[in-house]
Structure formats: C-alpha cells, structure tokens
Subunit: 334 residues, 2 copies
DNA sequence: GTGAAAGCGCTAACAG
DNA sequence: CTGTTAGCGCTTTCAC
C-alpha cells in the first residue's frame, strides 16, 4: 500500500501538501494540486484511516445497539441511521443483543472499551445506572425507548397517545371487552402503552379490568402462548390490543390454532407496523412508527452531541399513525 | 483518558513493561507485573485500540456483506459469524445492500478503501471480476452463495440436492404438475435450485416443461405477483416449489387472495427455513439451511485466511434437511 | 528483566 | 503557498 510519503515523493512536494490536497484545504496552488492528484491516481493511493484516526483522536465510528435484529422494526431504524452516518463518513457498528438480557448487560458493560465517537441505543432495558454511566463517557442518544427523568436525549413517539388511538379504533368498532397484551413492564414504553390502553377505556367510560391485561415479553412466542388464556377467559373478550406487532402476530396464530377466527371472534390490533404485519393473515391493523425517520433524527442528534452543538430539542417526539388493515374487521386496501 | 505513559509513570516502570504486561508476554517479574496491574486498575486504563492497530498494521475488523437485512435468513447467518468473531476480539461491520443491485455494486467498488482484515460476502451477484478483484486484495469467504470455477473459498449447501429433495417430497405426495418459482437466474444457487427441480422431475419420469418455471426475483412481492399467472396457467398446476421462503410466502398470499386454498388447491414448498416460514398460514414446508453453522464455518475459514493458515477445505458443503409443516398437506407438529 | 527509542501514517502548528 | 517537524499511543527491537 502506498503511503502519503510515496505520493509526496512522486509528486515532488511535501507530505503536508499532499495532506492539504486530500483535505481539500486552501493554500495550495492549482499546479501543486494537479501534481498531487496525478500521483494519487497513479499510485492508487488510499489514506490509512487508522493513522488518521489516531492523529485526529476521533474514531469516526458509532455503535448502534439493537435488542433483536430478527424483529424487523430494528433493521428499519438502523437503515435510517446508517444512511446519514455513511454520508458523513462514519462507520456504524451494529451490536445485536439477540433478545438476551445477559448479552445486553454485557454489551453496556464493555461499551467503554469500544472507543467510538458515539452510541445510539434502541433499547433501554438495562439498569439505569449502567446506561447513565455510559452516557457520561460517550455521546448517547436513545431511539424508540427512553429513560424516566433522565437527561439522555431521545427520539420516539408518544406511546401513550398512540396506544389510545389504537384502543379507540377498537372502541369505535363497538368493542367493550378489550384485552391488552403488554410488553415487559419494566420498560417505560410498554408501561406507556398500557397507560394509553387504560386511558382510552376510561375516557370511553369503560371499566378498566386488571384481568384483561396479559403480560407478554414482547416476542411472538409469548403472545402465542397467552392466546390460550385469553380464549379461556371468562371476560368475554372480543378485542385485543397487542403492544407490538410480533405479539399481535403471535396471538392471531394462537387464536386460529384454537379454531377461532380473527377478526370475527377476536379483533386484534398491533403496534409498530413492521413488515410482518402486512404479510400474515389477516393483515394486522396497527400503529405505524416512523422507523426510518426515527433513525435519521437519532443520528442527527448524535452528531450534534459529538460535534458539541447544543441540541435543538432534548426529546424529539415523532408522529405516529393508524394503519387500518384486516385484523379488526375493516378490510381496507393496504 | 489515561495512556500507557500514565500507567508507566504511576507504576514506576517503562512503557515497554506496561506493554508487555498488557500483552501477557513473558520476561516480566512478578513484582513488576503486580505494580502495573495495580496502576492499570487505579487509572481505569483502556489501551487505545486505534494506536495499537496502527502499530500492528491490523484493523481487527471484518466486513459482512448481506443482500437484505430484512430477509431473516441473513441475520441468522450473521449471528453465527459474530459469535465467533467477537470471541476473537474482532469487530464485525455489517454492510446491508438493501436488496438493491446498485448499492451492491457500489459496496464492492469501495470495498478496497475500507481497510479491514477480511470480508465475508453472503452474496455473489456482482460481476465476477469485481469480486475476484476484491479477493485479490483481501481475504474473502463467500457463504450461502458461490462463484463458478473460482478459487474463492465458500461454505454452503448442495442446492441441487436440496431442491431435488424438496421436489421429491411433492412427487411423493402424488403431484405431477409441479411449478417452480425461481430466483434470479444469474445467481448460481438459483440456477442450481432450478436444476434440482428439473432433475427430480426427470428421475421420476415426469416431463420438464419450461412453462412451469416462473421467474421471481427472490422477494415476497415478486412471488405474490406471479401467483396470478400460476393460477391462470393452463397447465393444471397442483404444486409449487419456490426457490426461497420469502417467495413461498408471497405465492401463498397471492393464492389465498385469489380465493384458492393452500395446500388443498396448491401445495407449496419453500427453501431456507426462515422464521417467517413457521409463522404464516399455512406454515411452510421447506428445506432447512444450517444458517448459524454456515456463519461459523465462514468466519473460521476467514480467520484461517487472515492468519495465513492453509484451508482444510476450499469448499464446505453443509447438510440441509427437509422440514415438513403444513403447506404441502402433511400437517406435522413443528 | 527492563528501558530507550524508533516508527506505524497521518495532520497541523510553525516557520519561512 | 509550501516544507519541516512534532506527536497521536502503542509495540517491538536493541542495548544494557
């Protein structure tokens, strides 16, 4: 591999001049620039980024932590992040926790060694102190999740409002006995989705019944198993609000496996609007989260942090929307 | 951040000694080692990996190129790769081509600048010369795909045999008019799957009919659209072999949308055994590829290459298996 | 067994 | 406008 010295020698200039040309700096005569560019091309020179990083004391790379790469929600956010980062010449490292809390803990613990310029976390399940500790060392933005009373900037949607919209949709369709399959309630967003559910019921004058809340762990499998309980319930459930699409898919599968129909026997509404929601049958009516946008905003905020600019907003709340498909009984073209 | 100098000063030794302790080298007295370790702990010292890389002329990182992160086949292979790589202290950089040939081309073209120790590609769609050129500069292993008559090492399964197994399953169930939805036939693995299909028919004494082959592009959407043609076909098709599960899911959706039933009107068999295959209805009977294993073997081969060891095998062929679910009419517990 | 010092390739401060 | 040079933090000779 040719180095900057080789280029300098060939172009008969100093390394400083070569460096200036590379960096598109001023104070270089046109003739010098031409000579350098010629030499670069002839030697097929690529600057050594490791050396550049060492010198500049920047890694030009960031880490994105995703809870589970198999839930397509996260890859979509990731793509939003990557698009912006790549454009700025940053590398993006993906840390997948494989939906495993142990791995998650470990990731956060070794994070300080990783030496990156910043971190975006699509999860906030880990102990608060651990995350805060990381945030002290690194620019950190959380996306899709958040920490209560924390200074850590985040971008997300209003989970309470969005859930209310979901449940209102069910109420408008005439349902009164609406169950909720929650995510893990140690995560604020799932607490919020539960709150939104309760608040929608209250506003409609319906009873909030603890027996109608089933605790999922946010996976497909967990909801599949809960379907049995839901069907057995004495509460005459006719509609289900699942806290994410994976779980919505899981209950639907379970309900059908038990010989019941969706939406005829049970209307089901989900949350996230992942790819799967449009594929399974019936296609899932759900709340759309602007995933790509979320990624973009997160990385933009991170760059503000990295480059020492003040954040315009510490908390960015994006718009969600209701996507009506088939699983609630209003068949609409997708 | 503390540097090696700070540690040396605090431990009252030279930086060389600190470096030796870090590297677990010999020729350090126990007392010196203890002093250094104490200082490291006290200063919470983390060696600067950028500096180390520059000095060692290694990046300790590799690139994994995936065609489409949304097809869960790839994340599963990726996890196999990552598990091994992380353990060895390597970082894995994911390049997602977003199922876009332009991006793919671009990725391969800029690859030389990326300065990594090695590359694993889960795709081989790009022009052969481009890939070969990359392989000249970098240790490169291809997984799940391959290049004909190329020296580039790869790990995969026998796509011909596996497809034959798939089609044989259909034949055993009594089908004689079996259609095939192929992937893009500029990719060898999809050519092979077509060959396996044809060979199974021939061996069974069935006619091979070009009109029974429908060209998909390996996405869900493409197969969804082809379903119309398949249904309209005059060939009395009763069974379909889709070259991957995404397309199997797509045809199934299309068939059902047209008011026909799977497996009663059309038996469908897929390929890959991705997560989706077990989720959609009917659950897809398919060929399992050992995805995680594939990733592991690929990264092990890559390390052999990086570290200059001779490869035990240039081409590793893993075992596939038939997974019987519902889409062919033999309902079996998953 | 240990330390001094060279040098990986680059950028930027400084001098001219 | 251009060149010389220090130095980023580390590992590894080479002396002692």
């Amino acid at each position: 591999m040719a180095t900057i010295k080789d280029v300098a020698k060939r172009a008969k200039v100093s390394v400083a001049t070569v460096s200036r040309v590379m960096g598109n700096k001023e104070h270089v005569t046109e003739s010098a620039r031409l000579k350098v560019e010629k030499a670069i091309k002839e030697l097929n020179y690529q600057p050594n980024i490791t050396a550049r990083r060492l010198r500049e004391q920047k890694t030009k790379s960031i880490i994105v932590i995703v809870p589970d790469i198999n839930n397509t929600f996260f890859p979509e956010v990731f793509r939003g992040i990557e698009a912006v980062a790549t454009q700025k010449g940053y590398r993006v490292w993906l840390e997948d926790m494989q939906n495993n809390p142990d791995i998650e803990r470990e990731i956060f613990e070794v994070l300080p060694q990783k030496q990156v310029d910043g971190i975006i976390s699509l999860t906030a399940r880990t102990k608060r102190e651990t995350i805060e500790a990381v945030a002290k060392q690194y620019p950190l933005v959380i996306a899709g999740q958040y920490l209560e009373d924390s200074k850590i900037p985040y971008v997300g949607i209003s989970n309470i409002k969005a859930s209310r919209d979901a449940v209102n949709h069910l109420i408008k369709l005439g349902h009164t006995n609406i169950a909720h399959i929650s995510g893990p309630l140690n995560q604020l967003i799932f607490q919020d989705r539960l709150k939104g559910y309760e608040s929608a019921l209250e506003r409609a004058g319906l009873k909030v019944d603890k027996d109608l809340v089933f605790k999922g762990n946010y996976t497909y499998e967990s909801a599949f198993e809960l379907s049995t309980e839901i069907i057995k319930s004495k509460k005459q459930i006719t509609a289900i609000f699942a806290a994410n699409d994976e779980m919505a898919a899981g209950v639907i599968k379970g309900i059908k496996a038990a010989g019941k129909r969706v939406p005829e026997d049970y209307a089901v509404i989900g949350f996230d609007n992942i790819r799967l929601a449009a594929i399974i049958e019936p296609a899932i009516t759900t709340i759309n989260q602007p995933k790509k946008e979320m990624g973009k905003r997160a990385i933009e905020m991170l760059f503000d942090l990295i480059e020492g600019r003040a954040l315009k907003e510490e908390r960015v709340v994006l718009k969600h929307s209701l996507v009506v498909r088939e699983s609630c009984g209003e068949k609409v073209r997708d």
